[in-house]
């Protein structure tokens, strides 16, 4: 620690350069923090992953539907307490950029998912209004919808049987609000009657997208999942039953391998960072050769000079990196709030902080090693003579 002021003095020798370098390191670690949050969010399988819910979907693809008749057979499997189901209904509101998250849901859906905060009155209104929908507060606020409004949706998959067009007009019968902040993402959804969807879509009826089975004891989930899958073995609709978290993860992976994408972006950012800071450090040492030679003349050993330059490099990256991660920590809840819960970035956890700090030290060490080696190998007599 007694050498810290020497390192600080070296860093402050060219203040502008040091500040700019710290800013570039800050930007890199801000990106690291945010992208790592995205990776964690995608890998967590969502906040709604109930431990007592299994999702039964086609073994081959989530877009391949299952026969409705399977629901009762799943319900009869020992250990299954409740079943419901849902279908994805793709569509947008007014303009294509306003893509909506719409699910056609079966009965008892809200018993399986109390997380939506749908009141019994709303559930009744949905059940008794054929064209009814429940809209989440976030999406309703975004477009200024309220209960009683007509909601025209341009379907992107299913045409309406009665009109032959993809325009569907729904009636908003309620606006729900998730009671827990962690479930705010649910408020981006629109929920409609599966019965209406089943009867009105032109692609035929009697099909469900996936079945949700609530189990009595999550400890037996694995055996129950096996029993459910056995129901459809060797049929044209073989199933894959997963915990809800696994299901959400596989759903998210349809977008792409988020982990790989994040790693590739971070890798490119850090490669550029290393070139930039490596060049800065090399330049900083070149400029200070007479000073380093003076330290050696006074009696600093080669190892001490190496440690000074190495410490300078690591400290430079640590300052920028810690500021970047701290800023990412501050921004995470702001991004989550600003997106109305659509993007649920988790707080930067101790694992991410640990990984970030390890990365800072590694980058500092890599960019510092060559300049530090050069400083260590400096011949005092040549350096003092300006050779």
């Amino acid at each position: 620690m007694k050498y810290l002021h020497l390192i600080r003095a070296a860093l402050m020798r060219r203040k502008t350069r040091t500040v700019l370098t710290i800013l570039s390191v800050l930007a890199a670690f801000l990106l690291f923090g945010l992208l790592d949050g995205v990776r964690v969010a995608f890998n967590s399988g969502g906040t709604l992953a109930g431990v007592d819910r299994l999702v039964v979907a086609s073994r081959f693809s989530i877009i391949q539907s299952l026969p409705e008749s399977l629901v009762n057979r799943v319900a009869a499997v020992p250990g299954v307490k409740l079943t419901t189901w849902a279908n994805w209904f793709g569509g947008y509101y007014r303009e294509q950029k306003n893509q909506m998250i719409i699910f056609a849901i079966g009965p008892d859906y809200f018993q399986a998912y109390p997380d939506y905060g749908v009141t019994p009155a709303m559930a009744d209104a949905l059940a008794t209004t054929r064209t009814g929908v429940l809209a989440g507060k976030a999406v309703a606020d975004r477009f200024g919808w309220k209960t009683g409004d007509k909601l025209p949706i341009m379907g992107s998959i299913f045409p309406n049987k009665s009109t032959g067009e993809t325009t569907w007009t729904f009636d908003i019968v309620g606006v729900f609000q998730a009671p827990q902040a962690a479930n705010r993402a649910l408020e981006q959804q629109i929920l409609l009657n599966w019965k209406y969807f089943d009867e009105a879509n032109a692609y035929g009826g009697g099909q469900v997208g996936w079945i949700v089975a609530k189990v009595a004891d999550p400890k037996h989930s694995a055996e129950i999942a096996q029993a459910i899958d056995a129901l459809s073995a060797n049929s044209d609709h073989e199933t894959k039953t997963q915990t809800e978290q696994e299901f959400n993860l596989s759903f998210a992976r349809q977008i792409g391998d988020i982990g790989l994408i994040v790693t590739a972006i971070i890798g490119a950012v850090f490669f550029t960072l290393m070139l930039l800071t490596g060049n800065t450090m090399a330049q900083a040492v070149r400029e200070r050769i007479p000073e380093l030679a003076t330290l050696k003349t006074i009696g600093f050993t080669d190892a001490q000079v190496l440690a000074l330059v190495f410490g300078e490099s690591v400290l430079l990256i640590l300052i920028g990196g810690l500021l970047g991660l701290a800023l990412a920590t501050l921004l995470m809840p702001i991004v989550t709030e600003a997106s109305g819960g659509m993007i649920q970035l988790p707080p930067i956890g101790s694992r991410s902080w640990g990984m970030g700090i390890a990365l800072m030290i590694a980058v500092g060490a890599i960019v510092g090693i060559l300049p530090a080696w050069r400083a260590m190998r400096l011949r005092v007599v040549d350096a003092l003579a300006g050779r």
């Binding site: 030679a293 003349t297 006074i298 009696g299 007599v381």
Partner: protein, 227 residues
């Protein structure tokens, strides 16, 4: 008086590309404890090379150098660095202060290599700055000081570890006459009152006049008198 520095048959050659240049030829010399020796000679005569060898900054090609009984020509890099820290103070023509540190912090730098506490280091640096009459400029950075003041800070740094030997390479070469006189007067005080042995390279005969005696180097060899 006993010899603090004993140089025997010392030669130094440098290789530059394919050429080997012998800068010092078989120099034998004793420098007594408490001596103030001026080394003079034309450019390229080997003065700075001899000074660097005496200060342990370079190793001879052949011959030996003992300082206070230690064969420094036999010491390795780390041992030589530690020896320098404990036994030699260096004063350069261009002061070689660290520009981002205050005068006080510059003087403290050699003490970082000791086990002294921060408070002791601060205290010793204050005393050293008082000795060179710069106590009031302790907080100033080198750029805020005149050349003469910077050289006095460098002298304070050189004596802070209380070395027996001071090696000075053209200590007045960058100074006006008045500042040069102040610096040379200070070196005389350190020599006479504190018993420091001083070896000074200079081109300036007036500077050499402050030394107790002068030796001349000519083409890498000691000569009796200047040509």
């Amino acid at each position: 008086m006993s010899a603090l520095v004993e140089i025997r048959d010392l030669s130094k050659a440098y290789t530059r590309g394919r050429q080997t240049v012998e800068v010092l030829h078989h120099v034998t010399l004793d420098i007594n404890e408490g001596d103030f020796l001026a080394l003079m000679g034309p450019s390229g005569s080997g003065k700075t090379t001899l000074l660097n060898l005496i200060g342990g900054l370079d190793s001879p090609s052949s011959g030996s150098i003992s300082v206070a009984g230690t064969r420094i020509d036999q010491l390795g890099g780390t041992a030589l660095a530690k020896w320098r820290a404990a036994h030699v103070g260096f004063i350069f023509q261009f002061y070689n202060l660290l520009p981002m540190l205050s005068a006080q912090k510059n003087v403290e730098v050699p003490l970082l290599l000791t086990k002294l506490s921060a408070a002791q280091r601060r205290q010793n640096a204050k005393i050293a700055l008082q000795l060179v009459n710069l106590a009031d400029r302790a907080a100033h950075k080198p750029a805020e000081l005149s050349g003469g003041q910077q050289q006095r800070v460098a002298i304070a740094r050189a004596i802070i570890s209380d070395p027996a030997l001071l090696v000075c390479d053209e200590p007045t070469g960058d100074l006006d006459r008045q500042s040069a006189e102040e610096v040379l007067g200070l070196l005389q005080v350190l020599n006479r009152e504190q018993g420091k042995t001083i070896v000074m390279v200079t081109h300036d005969p007036k500077a050499a006049d402050h030394a107790s005696h002068t030796l001349h180097l000519e083409k890498g060899s000691l000569v009796e008198s200047p040509p």
